[in-house]
Homo-oligomer: 335 residues x 2
C-alpha cells in the first residue's frame, strides 16, 4: 500500500483533486466544478461531492492508503479549519467548517486547510526549491497577489490563521483602487490585473504617435501573455510595463526582507511564467532598494548594493502546484 | 543562591548592566561609558570592562548565581553572536565576536546578543504585556524606529540574524532621506527625529501668521517632549504633528499586520511616552487602514472597520527595559 495525501485545490470555478505521494508525484487527479454563487448548493453538499470524487480517485489508484487531507481555498483559516466569508465562493456570508465537514468522510485522518498561496509555500518547501530552507517567502502572482511566509521552517499563520497578505500592503498612499476597498495595495500594481492597468497607464502617458502592439487590444482583451509577447518582440511600451511592474515588486520584496530576512523569495503563478521579462527588472529594483544590512559584503566588510536574498522562480511552475501544495500541508508534518 | 541573568544594554554613549531575576527585578545595576569612536579602545578591552563591572555587581548582590548573559547592541547578529559594522560604536569597520569574547569570562554559560528592539520584544514576552502571547510585535520608538517580531512564540531572526527592520520599510517612494542612505523609510517619519522633521514641515506649510509654540524653537533645540508639551496646551500645529505621525504609524502597522497578523502591537521607547497624543491618531489610522480580514466582525459576519489587533503601550515603559529585555533573552529559554 503506497501512502498518499489527498490534495484539494478549491478555486472559484473548479476544484482540483489529486493523490500525492511523499516525493510529490500526483498519482491520479481529477476535478469537479465549484458551484456558482446562485446555485444554492450548501457547503456540506459540496464537501460530499469532493469526497465522492476522491473515492473515485482512490479506486483508480488501487493500492494506496490515504494518510491525510490537505486543501487550499480562498479565505481559509488554518487555525480553525474553516473557510470564512469567501467572496468568490457561494458561501460568502458563512463560515464553512471545512475540516469538520470532511471529518465525516475521513474520521481519523489529519485534515488541513489554508489559502492557496500558503499551500504553494509549503509545496515549495516539501517538493520544490525551498527544500532545507528555514526562512523563505513564496509569492503567487495570479489574478491577485498571494504570499506565504516561512519563518524558522514553519508557515506564519498569525494569531488568527490569516497572516501573509503581502498583496495588501499599501505601496502608494491614495494609489489604485483595490478589490479590498482600500487604495494603493501592492496587488493593484503587481498581478495579472495590475499589469493590465499599468499597460493602460503607460499608453495614457507616452507620446501619442508612438507605435505599440498594446494599442491594438482593448482592456477586456489584453492579457499578461499578450503584453509579454509584445515585449518579447521589443515593443517599447510593453517593455516599460514589465519594467514598472518589476520596479514595484522589487521595492515590495525589499520591504518584505526587512520583516523576515528570508534566504530566498520564490515567484510562482501565471505572471511568474513571463520569466526574465519580470525577473530582470525585479532583481534590479530589489538590489537598488535593499537595506544595507541585507546586502552582500566583501571579505573586508565593504558593502555591495546587491541583495543577499535570492530571487528565484518556483520549482512548482508548470506543475499542478496548487494540488501539490495542498498535499504538502500534511506531508510537511510527516517529514 | 538566587539565580539571575546578567543583562547588558550597549548604547552609543553608555552601556548599562544589571542582574535580573526570573520575575524581572533588577537586583543591582550600574553603567560604564561606551568608548567613543576615536578612543582606540579595542572590542576585547571593552568586553573586559563590561565583565569587570559585572563582577562588581555580583559582589554587591552577594548570594546570586549568574546563569547566563544577555546583551542588546546595535547591529547585533543573534545567529552569529556578533556585532557587525555598528556605525555608532568604535568598531564600525569590524565584526566584533561578542559572544566569543564574553566566553573568556563566562565559559560555561549561555550568552545571547541581539539588537535592542528585539530584546525589548522578548522583555515584553517574559516580563511585560505579551506574557502568554504567541504572535505580537514590539515597536521601539527612540531616536530611530526599532522593531521585534514574534511569531509562534519565537523572535523572527531570519536567515542572517538581522530580521525585523520595519523602520526601514519604504513608506513614501522618494520621500525623506534616511540615515540608511535610502529615501522614504518609515523611520524618517516615525521616530524622535521624524517628529522634529514633521514639526518643521507643518510650520513650512501652514499659514505664516498662525501662532504656534513650535515657532519659538530652533531645529537643534526642539525635542519630542517640547512638541508634546505644546500639543498638551492645545497648540494646533503641535497637534497636527502628532496627527500626521500617528497617521503614518497606523498605516505602517496595518501593513505589518498583513505580514504576521499579531495579536497585539506594543509601543515602547521615548516617543511612546507621549501616550494618547500618539496612540489616539495611530489607532484611528490603524483602524482606517486595516485590511478587512484583520477587522472585527459582528456575530453574523458583518465586518466592522476596526482592527482586531490590539495597540498597547509597553509594560516596560518607565523601567530599564533595555537591560530587562537583554536578560529576558536568556530567561526566555529557561521558562
Amino acid at each position: 500500500m503506497e501512502r498518499v495525501v489527498l490534495g484539494i485545490d478549491i478555486g472559484a470555478t473548479s476544484s482540483k483533486l489529486g493523490l500525492v505521494d511523499s516525493a510529490g508525484n500526483i498519482l491520479v487527479e481529477s476535478s469537479i466544478p465549484t458551484p456558482v454563487n446562485t446555485s444554492g448548493v450548501s457547503a456540506a453538499e459540496f464537501v460530499k461531492s469532493l469526497c465522492e470524487a476522491s473515492f473515485v480517485l482512490q479506486h483508480q489508484a488501487r493500492t494506496v492508503e490515504v494518510i491525510g487531507v490537505g486543501a487550499g481555498a480562498p479565505n481559509a483559516n488554518y487555525n480553525k479549519g474553516t473557510i470564512e466569508f469567501a467572496a468568490n465562493l457561494p458561501w460568502q456570508h458563512e463560515v464553512v467548517p471545512f475540516v469538520e465537514l470532511m471529518k465525516t468522510y475521513f474520521p481519523n485522518l489529519p485534515i488541513r486547510i489554508t489559502n492557496d498561496a500558503n499551500a504553494a509555500a509549503i509545496g515549495e518547501k516539501v517538493y520544490g526549491g525551498a527544500k532545507g530552507m528555514k526562512d523563505f517567502v513564496s509569492i503567487t502572482l495570479g489574478t491577485g497577489f498571494g504570499s506565504g511566509i516561512v519563518v524558522g521552517g514553519e508557515l506564519v499563520y498569525g494569531c488568527d490563521g490569516f497572516a501573509g497578505e503581502i498583496g495588501h500592503v499599501v505601496m502608494i498612499p491614495n494609489g489604485r483602487r483595490c478589490g479590498c476597498g482600500r487604495l494603493g495595495c501592492l496587488e493593484t500594481y503587481v498581478s495579472a490585473t495590475g499589469l493590465k492597468q499599468t499597460a493602460f497607464e503607460v499608453m495614457s502617458r507616452r507620446y501619442f504617435t508612438e507605435k505599440s502592439l498594446l494599442k491594438a487590444a482593448s482592456f477586456n482583451e489584453i492579457t499578461p501573455k499578450y503584453i509579454a509577447d509584445a515585449a518579447l518582440q521589443g515593443d517599447s511600451m510593453a517593455l516599460e510595463v514589465f519594467e514598472q511592474t518589476g520596479e514595484m515588486l522589487g521595492l515590495a520584496l525589499a520591504n518584505t526582507v526587512a520583516f523576515s530576512s528570508p534566504e530566498a523569495i520564490f515567484l510562482y503563478g501565471g505572471l511568474a511564467n513571463s520569466g526574465d521579462l519580470l525577473l530582470t527588472p525585479t532583481r534590479k529594483s530589489l538590489d537598488k532598494n535593499m537595506l544595507k544590512n541585507y546586502c552582500k559584503r566583501t571579505a573586508d566588510g565593504q558593502f555591495i548594493q546587491e541583495a543577499s536574498t535570492q530571487l528565484l522562480l518556483s520549482h512548482l511552475c508548470n506543475k499542478n502546484g496548487a494540488v501539490l501544495g495542498a498535499a504538502a500541508l500534511v506531508w510537511h508534518e510527516k517529514v
